[in-house]
């Protein structure tokens, strides 16, 4: 089976279309970053409190929001997600290093609001640790144990919490869901003294201002170092202009990917930065494959114009470029579709980035090379040359 065979598309002839396409997306992204959504930073970078709560029934986000507002938690963002979950985010103003967990406790209090008065003094099974439950059982002593009370109740508590977390997905609908998991006497005692609130806190991230700032700085540095690393390596392996072209291309990809996050107002978290750094590497792969072929063809076709050589090289590697991009895209798509909520931003960045990265290695990187050469020719200078590896490892300059 073969999709592409002996294609001869004039890619360089279409460079103005490519330029227009890239400009539209980059400019839209930059405008959004400057004037619309800004760069929407996640809790990792801007600092703040993010609590993921799971409900036993479909939650009412608007109601939760107004309740939080009424309790004085202004600007809280309430975002419903899959599986009866709600993400509640507080900004950095409500997250001080003096009392890091205050916001979290306030959220818990507000959410417990309607059931709190009815169940005052009772033990909340959906928001307790196994240790807390073990202590509770130890105190009530429903089995009237004289020896080994501590280990026995600890084991019972662990069983109940496992049932809640691993079987029921983090929240119990009622104590009856524990039937068969614990001794009837334990269940009777729980029914008398405990209750299941309609939510359970699944995940908490609280980032103070200092760490947020630290992480922002590191993300910038990591991105810059990575770009600089590429520039140096490619400068050494090829000519410096190839490094510049590759880095400009990757910068273009990063800009459009971040722009897409800004346009959609999706938050950029630590894992999204990881995805972007991966893209820097990946997009470079594509560019290098094309450059390698250009280098090889310059040696073989000494008489041809650089533009023709570049076109031929892109066509020769087109099959590989599309296939690899398609296969990587398949795996990333699997991540996006099945990877779950936590990896959503991460896989989205990769989905966008692989599309853009593949496009740009054809439509941006190669035309930059040709444009540079034409610019130099226009100034009456020598056209760029290219070090070529010869059999005995010596470098030899070949005119393009």
């Amino acid at each position: 089976m073969e999709f592409f065979r002996n294609t001869s598309i004039d890619f360089l002839g279409k460079k103005w279309y490519f330029l227009a396409f890239s400009l539209i997306f980059s400019v839209a992204g930059v405008f959004s970053m400057l004037f619309w959504h800004g760069i929407p930073l996640g809790v990792d970078f801007r600092g703040g409190t993010l609590v993921t709560v799971k409900y036993a029934h479909p939650p009412d986000a608007a109601k939760i929001h107004s309740e939080l507002e009424a309790a004085g938690l202004k600007n809280a963002r309430v975002q419903p997600s899959a599986n009866n979950e709600v993400l509640i985010a507080l900004d950095i103003q409500q997250t001080s290093e003096q009392d890091l967990t205050k916001g979290k406790e306030q959220i818990k209090q507000v959410l417990a609001g309607p059931t709190a008065s009815a169940n005052a003094g009772k033990f909340d099974l959906n928001n307790s640790s196994s240790l807390g439950l073990a202590n509770y059982l130890l105190e009530k002593d429903p089995l009237h144990l004289s020896t080994d009370a501590n280990p026995r109740y600890t084991a019972i508590a662990q069983g109940i919490v496992d049932q809640k977390d691993k079987v029921r997905g983090g929240v119990l609908g009622s104590i009856d869901e524990l039937n068969g998991i614990a001794d009837p006497a334990v269940l009777a005692s729980l029914k008398a003294g405990a209750f299941t609130s309609d939510f359970g806190v699944r995940d908490v991230a609280i980032v103070g201002p200092q760490v947020g700032q630290q992480l922002r700085r590191q993300a910038w540095l990591a991105t810059l170092y990575s770009l600089a690393g590429m520039l140096v390596y490619l400068g050494l392996r090829f000519e410096w202009i190839y490094g510049v072209a590759a880095v400009l291309t990757v910068f273009h990809d990063t800009l459009i990917t971040v722009g897409a996050f800004s346009l959609l107002n999706w938050e950029i978290s630590l894992t999204v930065i990881a995805a972007i750094l991966t893209l820097i590497g990946y997009s470079n792969n594509d560019t290098i494959v094309v450059f390698d072929r250009i280098r090889e063809n310059i040696k073989l076709l000494r008489r041809d114009k650089l533009a023709d050589i570049v076109n031929k090289s892109i066509n020769q590697t087109l099959s590989r470029t599309i296939l690899t991009a398609g296969l990587t895209f398949l795996t990333v798509l699997a991540l996006f579709l099945f990877g779950g909520e936590v990896l959503h931003g991460f896989s989205f960045a990769l989905v966008i980035g692989i599309l853009i990265g593949t496009y740009s290695s054809i439509a941006i990187a190669a035309p930059i090379l040709v444009a540079y050469q034409e610019w130099r020719a226009g100034r009456g200078q020598q056209p760029i040359s290219m070090p070529v590896r010869t059999g005995n490892g010596q470098k030899e300059k070949v005119k393009a």
């Binding site: 977390d165 995940d203 296939l323 699997a334 991540l335 936590v342």
Partner: protein, 538 residues
């Protein structure tokens, strides 16, 4: 089969065995459950998959500096008194920003050289410089200051580790957080009760026994008023623990407490839960020999005075000294049994040298971790199957070759992680999936090149030869650039992101071996079995 090829097959088989051992070790039993247990024994799951608590805290190193300079002041006063050198005033002008600076004012000019000698003899860590109007600046030397701060962080890590160990958490991470200043990273897999952990870490348990010079007062203002607006020298106002006297309605209570301590947590030999004379839970402590002597000389000099037990700058108990005490005492203060156990434990594990501030807290509930594993594995299997099937359809028999290489790639990747005890996080699983996608790139590059060479009329053996040698240069370039960005991620990232970088680097390194070496051996083997001129299935 030629001899060269046999040797290469042996290398591949040995690699396969080695990395299978890396994944499984020697399993205890060969059932599915036993195998799974031995995998999880060797490849550790990250916090995001297991659930657990992640904290970043900052050591308030300034506290440690203040303790040191307070002691220096106490020593200096003592020495100046015995040497009969007069001075008007000795203070720390800026204990928040420059806790290392002591200013001594009003030393008479004819005694100033004696003063300097005493400082340099008795306080070797400090430098003395003359200031305006007969004053002297006594400041800790810069090297000693940074050493002291560094030691404070090390000691804090040690203390926190001791305390966490007593909680019985498996595989805790407690280390200096290299990305910030004076920060400590604490990761506790499987701990579902961060509040209790924080309580145990946070209670600095800075136990001090000091002299109480007045109180209780109902407010700071009242304390000042009753003392004519000024506190006695070297004294501070300190709040008492709420409801200290068993009287919760009493409101705030303040005491005037001496700045220097008679004995502190460092003089403690041991502490254990006990009961006081009323049968209430209390902590009994025993002092070290040295501490006991210090305590004896203090109490014998202050019979009839009041003694305050101060814990984390809160007065726990005030009692009159009836007679000289040697080395045992009791701290009571309406504790619950749990509090007494925790307090005794924190006292035993040593006092934190400085206070602690929390900068970041993350808790992943075990249910979320379980969901993440499910979806991560589902995505991995779906992505992998899609790639494997595509390669089979598109390249036919050569696709089998690529698929074998890919599976071996995965085995080596997981084996690496097993050997290095690497941590698998959710982004790490994503890294595994990406490795599949990017790893297959090498195969595509080679196969496309072989097809091209075949189209150009080369025979299968020479097309394979050319395909591999041309693609090799490109593969090295692409791998180096990706490994560079992954390595930068590893250096800058923490937790989950680090896990991602780890899998990506190992995966791509393994790919160089599988896609190039293993694939080539399989091709050579197939070519060797074919008749001359027979077509290659690709």
């Amino acid at each position: 089969m030629n001899k060269n090829l046999t040797w290469k097959w042996a290398v591949i088989a040995a690699t396969l065995l080695l990395f299978l051992f890396g994944i499984f070790g020697i399993p205890k039993d060969w059932t599915g459950k036993g195998l799974l247990a031995s995998i999880t024994d060797r490849i550790h799951l990250g916090l995001d998959l297991r659930g657990g608590t992640h904290l970043i805290l900052q050591v308030q190193v300034n506290d440690a500096v203040n303790v040191d300079s307070d002691n220096a002041i106490a020593r200096l006063r003592e020495d100046l008194r015995t040497k009969k050198i007069n001075y008007a005033d000795m203070t720390k002008p800026d204990p928040v920003n420059h806790a290392e600076l002591i200013v001594v004012k009003g030393v008479t000019p004819d005694q100033s050289s004696d003063f300097k000698t005493i400082v340099s003899d008795r306080l070797p860590d400090y430098d003395v410089t003359s200031g305006a109007e007969n004053s002297f600046n006594v400041a800790m030397k810069a090297t000693n200051l940074s050493e002291l701060k560094k030691r404070a962080v090390e000691q804090a890590i040690e203390t926190i580790r001791n305390r966490i160990d007593q909680l019985g958490v498996s595989e805790p991470v407690i280390q200096e957080h290299s990305l910030g200043s004076y920060q400590i990273l604490v990761q506790l897999p499987g701990v579902d009760d961060p509040a209790r952990v924080k309580e145990i870490i946070q209670s600095t348990a800075m136990l001090e026994i000091k002299q109480s010079r007045g109180g209780p007062y109902s407010s700071e203002q009242q304390a000042l008023q009753e003392n004519g607006g000024v506190l006695p020298p070297d004294s501070v106002l300190m709040p008492a623990k709420a409801g200290m006297r068993g009287d919760r309605e009493a409101g705030e209570q303040w005491y005037i407490i001496s700045r220097a301590a008679a004995v502190s947590g460092r003089d403690l030999r041991t502490a254990e839960p006990s009961r006081d004379e009323n049968g209430q839970p209390a902590v009994r402590f025993i002092l070290t020999g040295d501490g006991g002597r210090k305590f004896y000389s203090f109490t014998s000099a202050h019979v009839g005075d009041y003694l305050a037990v101060v814990l984390d700058n809160k007065v726990q108990e005030v009692a009159v000294i009836k007679e000289a005490i040697r080395d045992t005492g009791i701290i009571n203060g309406r504790f619950t049994e749990q509090q007494v156990t925790d307090l005794a434990m924190t006292l035993r594990s040593g006092a934190l040298p400085a206070g602690i501030k929390y900068l970041e807290e993350r808790t992943v509930g075990p249910s979320l971790g379980a969901d993440s594993i499910k979806s991560g594995v589902r995505a991995a299997v779906a992505g992998m199957l899609a790639v494997l099937i595509f390669m089979l359809v598109y390249y036919r028999w050569a696709g089998v070759n690529a698929d074998v290489a890919l599976i071996l790639n995965l085995i080596i990747l997981l084996g690496f992680m097993g050997f290095f005890g690497a941590v698998l996080t959710l982004p790490g699983i994503a890294g595994v999936i990406l490795t599949v996608g990017m790893g297959v790139d090498s195969n595509v590059l080679i196969f496309e090149r072989i097809r091209e060479e075949l189209r150009n009329g080369k025979t299968p053996p020479s097309a394979v030869e050319q395909g591999f040698s041309h693609a090799w240069v490109t593969i090295v370039d692409t791998h180096v650039t990706t490994i560079v960005s992954a390595a930068i991620l590893f250096i800058f990232g923490t937790g989950p992101v680090k896990g991602f970088a780890t899998t990506l680097v190992f995966g791509l390194a393994a790919n160089l071996f599988t896609a190039v070496f293993v694939s080539r051996v399989i091709f050579d083997w197939i070519l060797g079995r074919k008749q001359r001129g027979e077509a290659l299935s690709i």
